[in-house]
C-alpha cells in the first residue's frame, strides 16, 4: 500500500513538474453567520469576530483549460473566558473543490465551485487546579501557592458541501482579486463529539446552512 502511495505521489509530482503549470494560492476572508445557541448555565462565550469573518486559504491546480481542482479551508476561531478559564473554540471548514471558469473579458473571469467538505470542530479549555501529590512535592522544595494547569479538548468531525459563484479581476497574469458568493451546507449534529476517547454531546449550534461570502487575493502562474 505504501509503495503504491509513493509511486502515485512520484508520478503526480513528475507530471506536474513536466506539465505546464497552472498553480495558484489564495488568501482572504470568508464571511458567514453561524448561530450559537445558549445551552449552559454559565454564559457560553459569544460569537467572536473571527467566527463571522473566517480566514480563508486555498490552493488550486488547473488541470483543464476551464477547470481547476484544489483545496480550500475556512477557519473560524475565538478565544475567550469560560468560568474564569481560558477557552478556545475553532471550526475548520475544509473543501476539495472543483472549479470551472471562463473569461468574460480579457482580465475578468467568472468561476463556479462545487466542493464536498470534511469539517472539524474543536473546543479546548485550560483550567487551573490543585493536585495533592504535586502540592506535597512543591512543599518539600519550600514552594507554595503554585497552581497546576491542565488543557484538554473536545473534537468533532462532520461532513458538508459548499457551492459558490465568483469573479476574478486580474491586475497581472499572476495576481488577481477574487470575490465569491455561495453557501455552506453542513451535516452538523451536537452528538458524537469526542472527549478523552469517549463520545459526548457538544454545543447546539446552527451551522447547517449558511450563506458564505469570500474575498481575497490570488497569486499563481
Amino acid at each position: 500500500m505504501r509503495n503504491i502511495i509513493i509511486t502515485v505521489s512520484l508520478f503526480l509530482t513528475v507530471s506536474i513538474m513536466d506539465a505546464q503549470p497552472k498553480l495558484s494560492g489564495s488568501l482572504g476572508i470568508g464571511y458567514t453567520s453561524p448561530d450559537y445557541k445558549t445551552f449552559a448555565e454559565d454564559p457560553f462565550p459569544k460569537l467572536g469576530t473571527f467566527e463571522r469573518m473566517m480566514i480563508h486559504v486555498s490552493f488550486a491546480y488547473q488541470f483543464y483549460p476551464n477547470a481547476r481542482i484544489g483545496f480550500s479551508q475556512w477557519t473560524a476561531f475565538t478565544s475567550d473566558k469560560y468560568s474564569g478559564q481560558d477557552f478556545k473554540r475553532s471550526f475548520n471548514y475544509r473543501a476539495i473543490s472543483l472549479e470551472t471558469f471562463f473569461h468574460i473579458r480579457r482580465r475578468i473571469e467568472l468561476n463556479f465551485t462545487l466542493a464536498p467538505m470534511i469539517n472539524s470542530g474543536k473546543i479546548s479549555m485550560t483550567s487551573s487546579q490543585s493536585a495533592a501529590a504535586w502540592d506535597s512535592l512543591m512543599a518539600e522544595f519550600d514552594n507554595s501557592g503554585i497552581e497546576i494547569s491542565s488543557t484538554d479538548e473536545m473534537t468533532k468531525t462532520f461532513f458538508g458541501f459548499t457551492s459558490s459563484i465568483g469573479f476574478r479581476f486580474y491586475f497581472k497574469p499572476y495576481l488577481a482579486f477574487e470575490g465569491k458568493i455561495g453557501f455552506l451546507e453542513t451535516f452538523y449534529k451536537n452528538d458524537k463529539w469526542k472527549f478523552q476517547g469517549k463520545a459526548i454531546k457538544g454545543p447546539d449550534i446552527d451551522i447547517d446552512d449558511m450563506p458564505l461570502f469570500t474575498f481575497g487575493l490570488v497569486y499563481g502562474w
Binding site: H103, L114, I165, P211
Partner: protein
C-alpha cells in the same frame, strides 16, 4: 620551469583580459518563448532559470517593455484558452448556479 610559468601567467592574463560580451538576458530562450506564448508556457522545472532571466532582463534597456509584453501575451492567451466553456465544465457551472440560486431563494422565502 620559470619560463613555462611566465608563459602560462602571460597567456592567462591575456585571455582573462579579453572583453566578455554579455548576452542580453531578454534574449534568452525562455524569455523569447514567454514573449511568444505567454508565461504559462514555462514549465515548473524551467521556472527558476526563467525567474533569473526575468530578473536580469529587468535591468536591460528594453526590460520593462519585454515584461509588459510577456504579461499582455499571457492575458491574451488565457483569454483565448478559456473564453468559452469546453467539455464537462459547462455542466459544473450550471449545477453550481442552480444550487446557489435555490439556496438564496429558499433563504429569502423562509425569512
Amino acid at each position: 620551469m620559470v619560463t613555462i610559468l611566465r608563459v602560462f601567467i602571460f597567456s592567462f592574463a591575456v585571455l582573462s583580459a579579453q572583453e566578455v560580451i554579455k548576452d542580453n538576458a531578454c534574449n534568452s530562450d525562455l524569455i523569447k518563448r514567454a514573449k511568444k506564448e505567454g508565461m504559462r508556457s514555462i514549465r515548473v522545472n524551467e521556472m527558476p532559470r526563467y525567474l533569473i532571466d526575468l530578473w536580469n532582463c529587468r535591468k536591460e534597456e528594453n526590460g520593462k517593455k519585454t515584461l509588459k509584453r510577456i504579461n499582455d501575451k499571457t492575458v491574451e492567451k488565457d483569454f483565448e484558452h478559456s473564453e468559452k466553456f469546453t467539455g464537462f465544465t459547462a455542466t459544473c457551472a450550471y449545477c453550481t448556479t442552480t444550487t446557489v440560486f435555490i439556496f438564496y431563494i429558499y433563504k429569502i422565502l423562509s425569512n
